[in-house]
Symmetry: C2
Subunit: 344 residues, 2 copies
């Protein structure tokens, strides 16, 4: 560990991962959960995704304290020879459920050309891109989505119905990193709203409405009113699709049910997740090599005009972290180290 | 036929469909293509989608005149027992290819839980919602996407790479109409840009840039520069996903290749389409009935606050058309009637 700019430390990735595991063990989690959760949290911090890095250890601690998450449940994987793999997370955190379902998802996708992994009954705190990258590593394309807590109003309305409902997509590329995007269908992330609320700074315009339905940039008013979807009625439609595909379709909760279940505890949302995978070899047939070349030509046409590919900044942060150590906020890091002693 | 407000006629749906078929026959199309194309065009006009109604007969005529579309090719359906159905449209228009692939898509989706229909080498002029509704009629959910011509710059860039790349989704509901949305990932539809160009009216802000990359509301400048995606970098990421999923993944062209192939003819774009279908019974298992109920509860929470569901206006127009006849612009209608005599 070494000090860097004011309030930040630089920690080798292995050391950081070990500290994260120790903190999670302090919460009383079973070792399989500790390992899977630490992988996605360390990856988030490594890639400078502050909202999905070691900050999430605190989210997990709050969720554990709320008392509804199962700390030991082993996920149950069901596969019936179809293109669908169902995993019941049994009210534990989601990363282990994903890891347990992944090998079977890759297998059915290769066999059938398309595969679906339906995870149910999980507490979800992670970004979706670590999962997407684990699928593209198999040479498959992937599309994932999950509800959250109902904080977002539908276009034309002013009462929360949808979650921040992220959608993530990945495309396998030659070289070390795939093409990946992962974004909330809300105009801003919930974490950003919280940050504005804590610091008392106004939100950007068009992010939300107050409880009376009037547009507002006051984070306190929006938190008790409703957030908006990005991109007007189109983003709202996508947020609805996430509720239907990763909720109703797989027989799990919508964001409204998840928020009701939370009952003010401020825990991670509890619901399902849908992950689709696609085999370019099966879908493209004899033209799949051309397809890979076409994708690279398009990426070149984007970067040649000075535009960035999604996740490009994240991959640059990753390279830096692997070379120089991971930058972590000092206060948050100390808070996490203290957790290794056991949950308060 | 009866006159209605200035410049509009009201025509019974059956009569309108017959007139559309006659005009398409005048283009020299094989009868199977005439039937499939007339179904989607009549449906568009019935639902008051002016840009995808009888106006599209003129698009088809222009495409025929450009000389690259095959007027007679019978689509070739390939199914190998996997979840993927591939249809080679053989450079004919797309609606027949979709109709020929649909029964097999429904079958593999029921068998495997998830299915993919990859249509390749088609000239594409239709909205996606008619296809989506044909899938939801089977009790399946559906997600469809297709590239177009490269008119849209990536976020952070100013040169066209993506098409207007529509995404459409459908969810089966009890009652006569499903939940459906269908939108371009560009900030405005290409047809709207053309309309602004013809009438010399400025575009809304944030729809495009001129050839030097400066934001512009001048439709002529944007047509020779680039359109923008909706919703900033998120919409841009989705537009890219469409190129990858409905282009590179299925081994067919991207929007850039389609525009190159068009070589200024102004014909309908030529590329592929990807349609995914999902069986709620297979994905939701014992909870699929609960899933249907959850979806309806969410729709109620949206409409109860005065917000509209996607396609609600379209379904209202449909009801009106079935009751009172379809409203059609008189000038366009006469132009179409004249086509029945043969292509000029």
């Amino acid at each position: 560990m070494s000090a860097t700019t004011a309030g930040a430390l630089r920690v080798p990735l292995d050391e950081l991962a070990g500290r994260i595991r120790a903190a999670l063990r302090g919460l009383g989690l079973a070792e399989a959960h500790v390992q899977a959760m630490a992988r996605v949290i360390a990856a988030g911090q490594r890639d400078a995704c502050q909202s999905h890095g070691i900050y999430r250890v605190l989210t997990c601690a709050r969720t554990v304290r709320a008392g509804k998450v199962d700390l030991h449940a082993e996920p149950v994987v069901e596969a019936d020879g179809s293109a669908v793999v169902r995993v019941d997370a049994r009210h534990a955190f989601s990363p282990l459920a994903f890891e347990r379902g992944l090998p079977m998802l890759a297998e059915v996708t290769r066999r059938h050309g398309v595969g679906a992994l339906a995870i149910r009954h999980c507490f979800h705190f992670s970004a979706l891109w670590p999962e997407i990258e684990m699928i593209t590593a198999h040479g498959l394309a992937a599309l994932a989505m999950t509800p959250s807590h109902a904080w977002v109003a539908p276009a034309g309305g002013h009462k929360p119905v949808f979650g921040t409902n992220p959608i993530a997509f990945g495309w396998p590329r030659p070289g070390p990193t795939p093409l990946v995007f992962d974004f909330a269908t809300s105009a801003i992330a919930r974490g950003d709203l919280e940050l504005h609320r804590r610091t008392g700074t106004p939100l950007p315009p068009d992010c939300g409405v107050d409880a009376a339905g009037h547009p507002s940039t006051d984070p306190v008013a929006v938190a008790s009113g409703a957030m908006r979807a990005f991109g007007g009625h189109k983003g709202s439609a996508l947020a609805m699709m996430v509720e239907l595909m990763a909720g109703a379709l797989i027989g799990d909760w919508t964001s409204r049910e998840s928020l009701d279940f939370d009952a003010g505890a401020g825990a991670a949302p509890c619901h399902g997740e849908l992950i689709l995978a696609f085999d370019p070899v099966r879908l493209g047939g004899a033209d799949s090599v051309d397809g890979q070349r076409r994708a690279e030509d398009m990426f070149d046409a984007i970067t040649a005009q000075g535009a960035r590919l999604p996740s490009q900044r994240r991959f640059e942060a990753r390279e830096r972290s692997l070379r120089e150590g991971v930058t972590v906020p000092a206060g948050l890091y100390r808070e996490m180290l203290a957790m290794a002693g056991g949950v308060a």
